[in-house]
């Protein structure tokens, strides 16, 4: 019973984290059909920006609670700068090229960002544990859970709701859905597709950086943290069916809960289980759980 509760809570925390990390990838793929490997770079730069600025913030001795606002702020700053530079400076020149080639372009950007992190912050680890310890712990059935980690669950809810609301309840969101449905026709109707693409990419980048920023207080921020995250995010996005926000919630829950179950019941298969689920879903439903099958061209 206790194990079941632990698996559930751990799984929910991990799923929320996965959702925050992966949903930016989903958004960018859904709108622009770009599978963005550089998302791993956004994640690590978000984490470094947050860890570095929180270090400075606590050194200055300002009100500790302000550090949460700082986490969000660093994600926004890192995401907007990176997203704008990449989309305007590079990606808009490769739209319409072979999907695989666009993946390789973002892979190249990922390699560049990996070293950019080293150039800016060096090889030393950054610690930003303060926001995590500040919130203390909650005892559930005799086990201590970090409140900071539990807070990820409502945060994922807010991010998910915000995206749903933005896509379904605002004018821009409705136009964006028209663009997803038929890019050329929207262009013909006078929609400024280029500007929407830029905005989408920037929002996706901010979400990637946010994933890194909220992770920073839970880990020691070291070079190479983006490498592992990007395959995890891929797994979630592929399971959910490339480009579906509700699908990403389900995908994150499946991966998060199965990993938590594996960690507690059979630790040897912890890594195996994530990719086994990914393969199983792709084999059963190649288009993912929420994807629509593509028609083949003749």
């Amino acid at each position: 019973m206790l194990t079941a509760l632990t698996i559930l809570v751990d799984g929910l925390v991990y799923s929320s984290w996965l959702f925050i990390v992966a949903v930016g990838l989903t958004l960018i793929f859904g709108v622009m059909k770009v599978l963005n490997v550089a998302h791993g770079g956004f994640y690590s730069i978000g984490a470094y920006t947050a860890a570095w600025s929180i270090g400075l913030y606590f050194e200055a001795g300002w009100a500790p609670l302000g550090s949460f606002a700082l986490l969000i702020l660093s994600a926004v700053v890192a995401g907007v700068v990176l997203g704008l530079a990449l989309e305007r400076g590079l990606l808009r020149f490769v739209y319409g090229r072979d999907e695989i080639l666009v993946v390789l372009v973002t892979y190249a950007v990922f390699l560049i960002l990996e070293n950019l992190v080293l150039q800016i912050w060096g090889i030393d680890a950054y610690l930003a544990y303060q926001p995590n310890t500040l919130l203390g712990t909650t005892r559930l059935g005799g086990l201590a859970f970090s409140n900071y980690e539990l807070m990820l669950i409502p945060l994922a809810g807010v991010v998910g709701f915000g995206l749903w609301w933005g896509l379904n309840r605002t004018r821009t969101g409705k136009i964006l859905r028209a663009v997803i449905h038929d890019r050329e026709m929207s262009l013909g109707m006078g929609v400024n597709v280029a500007r929407l693409f830029t905005a989408t990419f920037v929002i996706g980048a901010v979400l990637g950086a946010l994933g890194g920023a909220v992770t920073a207080p839970m880990i020691s921020v070291t070079p190479g943290i983006g490498v592992e995250v990007i395959v995890l995010a891929f797994a979630v996005v592929v399971i959910s069916g490339l480009g579906s926000v509700p699908g990403t919630i389900i995908g994150a829950l499946i991966v998060g809960l199965s990993r938590a179950a594996a960690v507690h019941l059979w630790p040897e298969i912890e890594l195996f289980v994530i990719y086994a689920v990914m393969s199983a879903v792709l084999i059963m439903r190649p288009q993912g759980l929420f994807g629509r099958p593509h028609l083949r061209r003749i």
């Binding site: 950007v109 390699l111 080293l118 490339l242 890594l271």
Partner: protein, 321 residues
């Protein structure tokens, strides 16, 4: 049966003979580097076949790793030391895994092919990392190989391994060239252009892709086995997605124009990495990234298109249509 001889085969034979002759005078570190370059070019040669059909595997490290671990496990479990036998085991095992997975993967295209192959390679990685019997994250050491009963030591062993790698690579490149020229191999480019029309012509697209996939895996298995023997150590990093990414990088760098291209691309890549890692350890990935960007944007046919431009009479037969 007469064997058609064209520019590619002539260049291949000449290059292999020159390298074999030169290897008797080259210093040990060059021999070692050349072994790695040629062995990794075999993996890229396999990816080239798939890339001709418009498929890019982001999990080729799966077969590279199967080849490498086959060598290690065959040594550990059965005490096998012969290099010929070990490489053969690596090839057969990789091909067998690909034969089984191929029934699934041959139905996938584009991103889905890339992602499913990535997932399979990560399954192997996840298994290796957590399995103590397979050496976990440390991997294990591989003993100096023997050659048909001979047990050379030190530099002589490295040199023998180089000659084995060279012969195997020359044979593979020749056979791949013949395969791509055969009706089944020629289908790959047709599949890339329009697979439904290929089916209307009465060919099975899935079977053509399945065959290409198994060949690519066998080549990757050979590459993995040879690298394992040359380096003398294997660990799960060989099967991680970054390892697959490197092979994809070299495929794009090389271009799909000719079976000779992977060897040129692989040499450029390993030299670039060796020197960049030496002079700029904190920015070599950045250098690789910029190179990849420039290649995709300005040289989409890879470095082979430069070679083809230098030798127009030869390129007519070998360049991809």
């Amino acid at each position: 049966m007469t064997v058609p001889v064209d520019g590619t085969i002539r260049a291949l034979a000449l290059g292999a003979a020159l390298l074999a002759a030169a290897s008797f005078w080259l210093p040990d570190w060059v021999i070692f580097l050349a072994t790695l370059i040629i062995a990794k070019a075999l993996v890229v040669l396999g990816l080239l076949i798939l890339w001709r059909a418009g498929l890019m595997s982001f999990g080729q490290a799966l077969f590279y790793g199967v080849g490498a671990y086959a060598v290690g496990l065959a040594q550990l479990a059965f005490g096998l030391r012969d290099a010929f036998l070990l490489v053969l085991i690596g090839i057969v095992l990789a091909a067998a895994v690909a034969f089984v997975l191929g029934f699934l993967l041959a139905r996938y295209r584009d991103i889905f092919f890339a992602m499913l192959s990535l997932a399979f390679s990560m399954i192997l990685y996840g298994t290796l990392v957590k399995s103590a019997t397979l050496g976990s994250t440390d991997g294990f050491a591989i003993l100096q190989p023997r050659f048909l009963g001979l047990a050379p030591a030190g530099p002589a062993a490295k040199h023998d391994l180089f000659l084995l790698t060279l012969c195997l690579a020359a044979a593979s490149a020749y056979l791949t060239h013949r395969y791509l020229g055969s009706p089944l191999g020629a289908l790959t480019t047709a599949i890339r252009d329009n697979e439904i029309r290929v089916e209307y012509l009465g060919y099975s697209v899935e079977r053509a892709i399945h065959v290409s996939y198994v060949i690519a895996a066998a080549l990757a298995g050979a590459g993995g086995a040879l690298v394992a023997l040359a380096v003398g150590h294997i660990d799960p990093d060989a099967t991680y997605w970054t390892s697959s990414g490197e092979f994809v990088f070299v495929t794009i760098l090389s271009g799909a124009g000719s079976v000779l291209a992977p060897f040129i691309g692989s040499a450029l890549f390993e030299l670039l990495r060796a020197y960049a890692a030496d002079y700029a350890p904190y920015s070599w990935q950045m250098i690789l990234g910029f190179c990849l960007l420039l290649l995709i944007l300005f040289l989409p046919q890879g470095v082979w298109s430069l070679v083809a431009r230098l030798a127009p009479h030869r390129s007519r037969r070998t360049a991809a249509p």
